[in-house]
Structures are given as structure tokens and as C-alpha cells.
């Protein structure tokens, strides 16, 4: 009886030691993984900041103005002036599905004839 008790306690100690060792190892590995992830997050943040800076740099007003002037031939962009205000009915929307060339509404769904 006594020897069984001894055996059990020794086995328990060995088991606990193994468990503690395992936990320690896992913790260390988790910490390593966290460090690696944080480095990755930091690198991504940095890359993101560079992208944002680059985007802002490429969209700086001076450059856009120059580009608008350079591409005037194809884009015909002018600085906005009060004459550029329009009304919604001047905008040509693509024809609604179900609306034929002669403007007669065929389908029930488009019968309100309204524009979006």
C-alpha cells in the first residue's frame, strides 16, 4: 500500500514536471509568434504609411494641375467656375432596361418612367 503511494506520488511529480515544461515551451513559442506578428504588423503599418504618403504625393494639387494641363487634349479639364453648375436633367443616364428606342415603357417595373 505504502509503496503504491510512493509510486503514485513520483509519477505525479514526473507528470507535473512534464506538464510545466510543456506549458513553458508553448508560452515561449507563443511569445515568439507574437513578436514575429508584431514585427509584421509594424512592417505593414510602415508600408501602409509609405503608400499613403505616396498617394498624397501623387495627388498633390500642383501635380494634378500640371497633369490636367498636359492632358488637356484628351480630357479637356478646366478649373471649375460657376458656369459649371448643371441640373440633374442635363445628365444623360443610360437607358433603363425595358425602355425601347421610342420611349414607350414596355415592362411593368419600369412604368414609373422615373430616372434614378
Amino acid at each position: 500500500m505504502r509503496s503504491l503511494l510512493y509510486f503514485l506520488s513520483v509519477a505525479l511529480v514526473i507528470g507535473l514536471a512534464y506538464w510545466a515544461y510543456q506549458q513553458n515551451l508553448e508560452t515561449q513559442q507563443a511569445l515568439k509568434r507574437v513578436t514575429k506578428l508584431q514585427d509584421k504588423i509594424a512592417a505593414t503599418h510602415e508600408a501602409l504609411a509609405v503608400q499613403r504618403a505616396e498617394w498624397a504625393y501623387l495627388n498633390r494639387p500642383d501635380r494634378l494641375r500640371e497633369l490636367a494641363e498636359l492632358n488637356f487634349g484628351s480630357l479637356e479639364l478646366l478649373p471649375m467656375d460657376p458656369g459649371h453648375f448643371g441640373s440633374i436633367d442635363e445628365v444623360s443616364f443610360p437607358p433603363l432596361p425595358g425602355l425601347s428606342q421610342d420611349g414607350v415603357v414596355r415592362s411593368a417595373s419600369g412604368s414609373n418612367g422615373g430616372r434614378p
Binding site: L31, Q38, I41, A53, R60, D62, P79, F85, S87
Partner: protein, 594 residues
């Protein structure tokens, strides 16, 4: 186990009985012997246990002692568990405009330093470095590298290409350290507002960025505070408006051959500054050092809109008429004597053009009569005028969040006599900044509530105490509209069909440093509010020493210089602000757009 001796050995008992001894004694003796043996055994056992306990105790304490020694002797290390991305949050926060567009951000670059003791070939390194960086002096580098110095900064910021070229030199004594750099992606746009940064305390692995001017310095603590979690600083500036205004203002400044110009666009009801420009400007990425000679107010880093104090001339007249209306001294149709010259305190006040003997208050503004406003100032009296101007913020430094602002105190007459009151009423004797003027116009014309100028985006209008009544504010706006819209107004160039624009011109002689005024140098200002029926924006345009030849005549006054520039700016920004031309103010139908 030893053989046990029986307690009553038969042989001995029999022998004792024969001799007449007590056989019990033998038993007792044997019991005693046995107990002694037992005691000896027990002692050995307990001694062994004590020894074991002592060894264990010593071992345990020894272990603790060893651990303490190892902890105390090892190098201090950061705790391993860090909060997510803590390195990133330590960086200086971004600055964005009111729509979230980047105005200032950080970029990771490299710095270059040298450690001569590690160098294999200092002469060659010096020569090669001078080839990579044309600004460096090869001879000086060679002296540094071959001398006694152990550490030399070579470049604070280098580009990836330059870094590769330095790598290609292949010198082990040339080393790189990461460097956070402040980047202003829009270049010179909003340069005076942003200010600039420099490197503060620096080490090999990092350097702190410290604001040196503008909001960068005013909000330095906020921008560097890691507790903000990297949240950007949002300004009230609108980048698109700012860029458009700077562009038009620059063209206008060149056209009018002015030596400087400034513009402030303010939201009239909130006091938010939407755009603030000062020309000439600079690139905050490479902020020039303050000038050591010449007039500091001519340097590009001088912010004319905030730091520049000017006598802004007739633009001030509206405050005199508004106060007279508010005090009930006059109404817009009251006639004021304008026969000149008006002599006061040994000084003659004259008008630019002689006017008829009397004019209505509205016409005093429309025709810009110095004599008329001086007469009103006489009625207002000095203390009331001072109190009114102080309430508008004209007698104190502007509370705007720029590091330069608190040191710029308006220059005012001392003592403030009745004559001072008369000259101040038409803008002479009191020097304020264009930003002061924008704040004053906003407060007076937004319905009569004092606003506080700010560079931070506000969620809702913060209305200060009332300075004039709603009616006086509306009447003032109407007078300003007539300055633009009536045939003999001084700002007819500001007219644009479809827009209700009101404004006041101001042309003031520039004061000499030596006293007195220049004959041929003017500060031309145009202060405008639009739309006058629903005052939303106040725009101040100021040109420093403008001059333009029109129809063979040299023109310097605001009506010919500041007004056309302001008009051009309005045309550009009105669509950006989403203000549609209205049919009510269409005027010429052919010009009516849409």
C-alpha cells in the same frame, strides 16, 4: 536485527532464586538495557533526519541566493509582452485637412554616419562619399576620417538610391541608422500653417521630430503624445481651397507686381479658417532658416496673414458704421456731413475724392468717405470705440492655434485720443493682421456673434457673445453689397452675375520704418463676405505694394488690384464650396450660366 534477549531468561532467574535474589530485578535490568539500545537507535535516526533537513534547507536557500544573484547581475531587458504595434504609436501623428487628406506624415528613411576606427580605407571613403553627395567636401571628410574622431554624422536623411550607392563603396566604417522623416506631400501648399519640424535629440537608432513653427510647434505635445493612439490632427483647412487660393493669389501677385500677398478664407459662423495663404512661401520639407539680415517681414517664412501687422485702411470703416448703427446714433439713411477737409487736432482729414457736403451712412461706406467715418467716430467716443474693437479681438493677439500668433500684438495709438479714434475709424493708426480682419468681418457679418478663429475642425458653430444685433449685421452686409453692386462703388470689379457679394476695399499708405508714410507704396486689401443674403464665408485678400498699369495709368488702389484678384479667387472657390449662382442676382441675363 539483533537477537532479542528474553526479559526473564529462565537460567538467570533460577540462579537468582537459588541465591535468594529478586528475579524481578533481572527483568527490570533487561528492560532498561533494551530501552537504551532503542534510544541509541532513535538518536541515530533523528540525527540523520536533522542532517537531511539541514542539507535541504541550505540547498533551498542557496538556490534562492543563486537566483537572486543571477537576476541582479543580468542586463535589464524590456518585458517581452508588448502592446500591439507600440513602436508605431510612438511616431509623430499625421496632420490631415478637414476632409482627411494628408498634410503631413512620416516616412522611414536612413541616416548615414561614419565610425573611422572601423574604416579600412578612409581616403577612398572620403573621395567616394563626395562623389555620391556633391554637397560634401572631400578634403574635410578625409580630415575627419583620418583624425581622432570616433563618430561622425554625415547625412541626416538619405534616399534609398543614395543608400545603395553608399553600400557600393563597400566601406565597413560607413553605417546607417533608421530615421523617421517628416514629409509634407503637398510641398509649399499651406506651408505657413504647417510650419515645419527638425530633429531633436538624436541617437543612432532613432531621432525625435520636434515642431519648429506653425501648428507643428503649437500642437507639438499633442502630436508626440503616444496616448492619442496615432490619431491624426485634423485641421479646418481644406486642401483644395487652399491650393486654388494660393494659385490664383500667386498669379495675381505677379500680375500686380506686388512683393507679397496674403489671403484668408474663413467660415463666418464658426470662425474656422478654411484656407490661409501668405506669399512668397517656402517648402516645409526644407524649411529655410530665419534670415540674419534684411527685413524679417520680407522672408518667405514670414506669415503675412498672421504675423504681418498692417494698417488695413478703409476696410475698417464698416466697424465704425456698424457701431454707430448699433448704438442708435444713426440709421443707414441718416445724412453725415462729408465736407472736407475735416480739421482735428492740427490734422486735416481728407477724402480720396471730394464728396458732396453730406452723404448717407450707406454712401459713406459705398464711396468710402474718411470724413464721414471720422464724424461717426466722434459721436461714438473713444471708450466705446475701444470696447467695441476689443470685443472684436482687434486689440489683442489672435487666439489662433499657431505658435507665431501670441507674440503678434496689434499696434494701437497710445494715447488713444479723439483724433486717434477718428483715424482708426478709417483704418489708420491701428495695425492688425489680415487674420484679425477676417475674424472681425466674420463676427460682424454672421448675424452679430463674435467668433474665435481656429485652425481645428469644429463639429458645430461656437457662437460667442453678441456684438451687434441681427438687423445691424444685415444692414452692414447690405452696405457692403452696394459697394460691389452700385455704379459708384469702389469694388465694382468684384461683381459677378449670380452671386451676392459684399465687400470693402482698403488702400493704406505703407508706414516708413523711420516714421511717416511712403507716397507710392500701398497695402491694398479687399475684405468680402458672400453670399450676403446668407453669410457663410469671409475672404480677405491683401497685396503688398501692388502696381498695375491700366489704360496708360498707374493704379495701386485696392479697387484696381486686390479686388480683381479677390474676384478671381471667388470664381474659383465658389463652385468648390458648392455655392450655386442664383437667378436673383443674375444681373445680365446673357452671363447667367446654366
Amino acid at each position: 536485527m539483533t537477537n532479542r534477549i528474553p526479559l526473564r531468561p529462565l537460567a538467570r532467574i533460577l540462579r537468582a532464586r537459588d541465591k535468594g535474589h529478586d528475579p524481578d530485578e533481572i527483568e527490570r535490568e533487561n528492560i532498561r538495557d533494551r530501552q537504551e539500545i532503542q534510544r541509541d537507535n532513535l538518536r541515530v535516526v533523528s540525527e540523520r533526519r536533522l542532517l537531511l533537513a539541514a542539507v535541504l534547507t541550505v540547498a533551498a536557500f542557496g538556490l534562492i541566493g543563486l537566483r537572486m544573484w543571477s537576476i541582479s547581475s543580468e542586463a535589464v531587458a524590456e518585458p517581452i509582452t508588448r502592446s500591439g504595434g507600440s513602436e508605431i504609436l510612438a511616431a509623430r501623428a499625421d496632420i490631415v485637412d478637414r476632409n482627411g487628406r494628408l498634410l503631413a506624415t512620416n516616412l522611414q528613411t536612413q541616416s548615414l554616419y561614419a565610425q573611422p576606427p572601423l574604416m579600412t580605407n578612409p581616403e577612398r571613403a572620403a573621395a567616394e562619399l563626395a562623389r555620391v553627395f556633391p554637397g560634401l567636401d572631400a578634403e574635410k571628410l578625409r580630415q575627419d576620417f583620418t583624425g581622432t574622431r570616433k563618430f561622425i554624422w554625415i547625412k541626416r536623411r538619405i534616399s534609398p538610391e543614395q543608400r545603395q550607392m553608399v553600400h557600393d563603396i563597400g566601406e565597413p566604417g560607413l553605417l546607417f541608422g533608421p530615421r523617421e522623416m517628416r514629409l509634407y506631400p503637398n510641398g509649399a501648399v499651406a506651408a505657413h500653417i504647417l510650419g515645419g519640424t527638425k530633429f531633436g535629440a538624436e541617437g543612432v537608432h532613432s531621432a525625435e521630430l520636434v515642431g519648429v513653427a506653425g501648428v507643428e510647434k503649437a500642437f507639438d505635445t499633442y502630436l508626440r503624445d503616444p496616448a492619442n493612439g496615432g490619431a491624426p490632427l485634423q485641421l479646418s483647412i481644406d486642401l483644395t481651397l487652399q491650393a486654388a487660393i494660393e494659385e490664383v493669389l500667386y498669379d495675381g501677385m505677379r500680375l500686380m507686381s506686388a512683393k507679397g500677398a496674403s489671403a484668408v478664407l474663413m467660415e463666418a459662423k464658426t470662425g474656422e479658417v478654411l484656407a490661409m495663404a501668405s506669399l512668397p512661401d517656402f517648402d516645409p520639407n526644407d524649411r529655410p532658416a530665419p534670415p540674419v539680415e534684411g527685413d524679417p517681414s520680407d522672408a518667405p517664412i514670414f506669415n503675412r496673414a498672421v504675423q504681418g501687422l498692417y494698417e488695413l485702411g478703409s476696410t475698417m470703416k464698416i466697424f465704425a458704421t456698424a457701431q454707430a448703427l448699433e448704438l442708435g446714433l444713426v440709421n443707414p439713411d441718416t445724412h453725415v456731413p462729408t465736407q472736407g477737409p475735416l480739421r482735428a487736432g492740427g490734422f486735416a482729414i481728407k477724402d480720396y475724392k471730394d464728396l458732396s457736403p453730406s452723404q448717407t451712412v450707406t454712401n459713406v461706406i459705398v464711396k468710402s468717405s474718411n470724413i464721414g467715418t471720422a464724424r461717426l467716430a466722434q459721436q461714438i467716443t473713444v471708450p466705446r470705440q475701444q470696447a467695441f474693437l476689443r470685443a472684436l479681438g482687434f486689440l489683442d493677439a489672435s487666439p489662433i492655434e499657431l505658435i507665431e500668433a501670441p507674440n503678434v500684438r496689434p499696434l494701437m495709438p497710445d494715447p488713444w485720443t479723439e483724433l486717434s479714434a477718428m483715424t482708426v475709424s478709417y483704418g489708420h493708426g491701428l495695425s492688425i493682421s489680415p487674420l484679425h480682419l477676417a475674424t472681425g468681418y466674420s463676427s460682424l457679418l454672421n448675424g452679430g456673434h463674435v467668433v474665435t478663429p481656429t485652425l481645428l475642425k469644429r463639429a458645430a458653430p461656437e457662437l460667442g457673445p453678441r456684438i451687434v444685433s441681427e438687423e445691424v449685421s444685415a444692414a452692414s452686409r447690405e452696405m457692403l453689397r452696394l459697394v460691389v453692386d452700385s455704379e459708384d462703388g469702389t469694388a465694382s470689379f468684384a461683381r459677378f452675375p449670380g452671386y451676392a457679394i459684399g465687400g470693402k476695399t482698403g488702400s493704406a499708405d505703407k508706414p516708413r520704418h523711420t516714421g511717416g508714410y511712403y507716397e507710392d507704396k500701398l497695402i491694398s486689401t479687399f475684405a468680402q463676405v458672400f453670399p450676403t443674403d446668407d453669410p457663410q464665408y469671409v475672404l480677405i485678400v491683401m497685396l503688398d505694394e501692388p502696381e498695375i498699369t491700366v489704360l496708360g495709368e498707374n493704379r495701386r488702389t485696392a479697387g484696381w488690384t486686390a479686388v480683381p484678384v479677390s474676384h478671381e479667387i471667388t470664381l474659383r472657390i465658389a463652385p468648390l464650396l458648392g455655392i450655386r449662382p442664383s437667378v436673383e442676382y443674375a444681373g445680365n441675363p446673357e452671363l447667367n450660366p446654366g
